[in-house]
């Protein structure tokens, strides 16, 4: 799966994109967040305020209970501030 990070999440994690094989037991966006947070401090810091983070699967906003599949594009980002 392809993971994308934007704005201060990108800075805290230290990369804007990465490809990973879907880990065992990761079936939802929330599972994926748990798995990422356990990886290292950058991810833990990026997901610190989990309730404000927005997630998109294949470019559609989703909740954290949304399922994830092997070929999904999953993006995490802070609340948007365009306009």
């Amino acid at each position: 799966m392809k993971l994308l990070y934007f704005a201060w999440m990108r800075q805290r994690i230290g990369t804007s994109a990465e490809d990973i094989a879907r880990p065992d037991g990761v079936d939802t966006v929330g599972d994926l967040v748990d798995w990422l947070v356990a990886r290292d401090e950058g991810y833990a810091k990026a997901f610190e305020k989990r309730e404000v983070i927005r997630a998109a699967v294949n470019q559609e906003y989703v909740r954290f209970d949304h399922p994830v599949n092997d070929n999904d594009e999953v993006a995490f980002f802070p609340p948007v501030t365009g306009g």
Partner: protein
């Protein structure tokens, strides 16, 4: 029509192109968003040296097109346009342009406001403001959530 671009735009030329030839149009409402020279950064008002807009290529275009479709479903628009810039901009520069053309003014005004309110909370853009003390990401404003809540029946049920 939607455009996501780094370069500036010419408001007059855009309006002329949008309405050109369609004599059923009696009203065009437009909004232009500009980079302010002063902004609150971590509780203090500071001078902004530049603003950098980051976005999610692909999803940005998709969300803007959805928002525009929704405006066209709700109001009888003859034409509509959203332009949103990305990259590094200086104070005074244009960031965003929304134009709605209709036979009468109410639809044009309302659709224009609707598009801006929706864009603020749904389009995946993020602003980084540079001041003499460094860079700070702009926080989402609660007032923007209130503004969009006026337009019930959000098309994006996931939120």
């Amino acid at each position: 029509m939607i455009r996501v671009q780094e370069e500036d735009f010419d408001v007059g030329a855009e309006i002329a192109a949008l309405t050109g030839g369609d004599r059923s149009i009696g009203a065009v409402a437009t909004f232009v968003g500009l980079v302010r020279e002063m902004a609150p950064v971590e509780g203090e008002t500071r001078a902004i040296e530049s603003m950098t807009l980051e976005h999610y290529p692909g999803m940005t275009e998709k969300k803007l097109a959805e928002i525009e479709d929704e405006a066209n479903r709700r109001w009888p628009l003859a034409a509509s346009l959203i332009i949103h810039r990305y990259g590094t901009l200086s104070p005074g520069e244009r960031i965003v342009f929304v134009a709605c053309a209709s036979a009468h003014r109410h639809a044009a005004f309302e659709a224009c406001q609707f598009l801006m309110d929706w864009l603020k909370t749904e389009a995946p853009f993020w602003k980084l403001e540079a001041t003499d003390t460094g860079g700070a990401w702009v926080d989402a404003r609660e007032s923007d959530d209130h503004a969009v809540a006026r337009w019930t029946d959000k098309p994006d049920a996931a939120e």
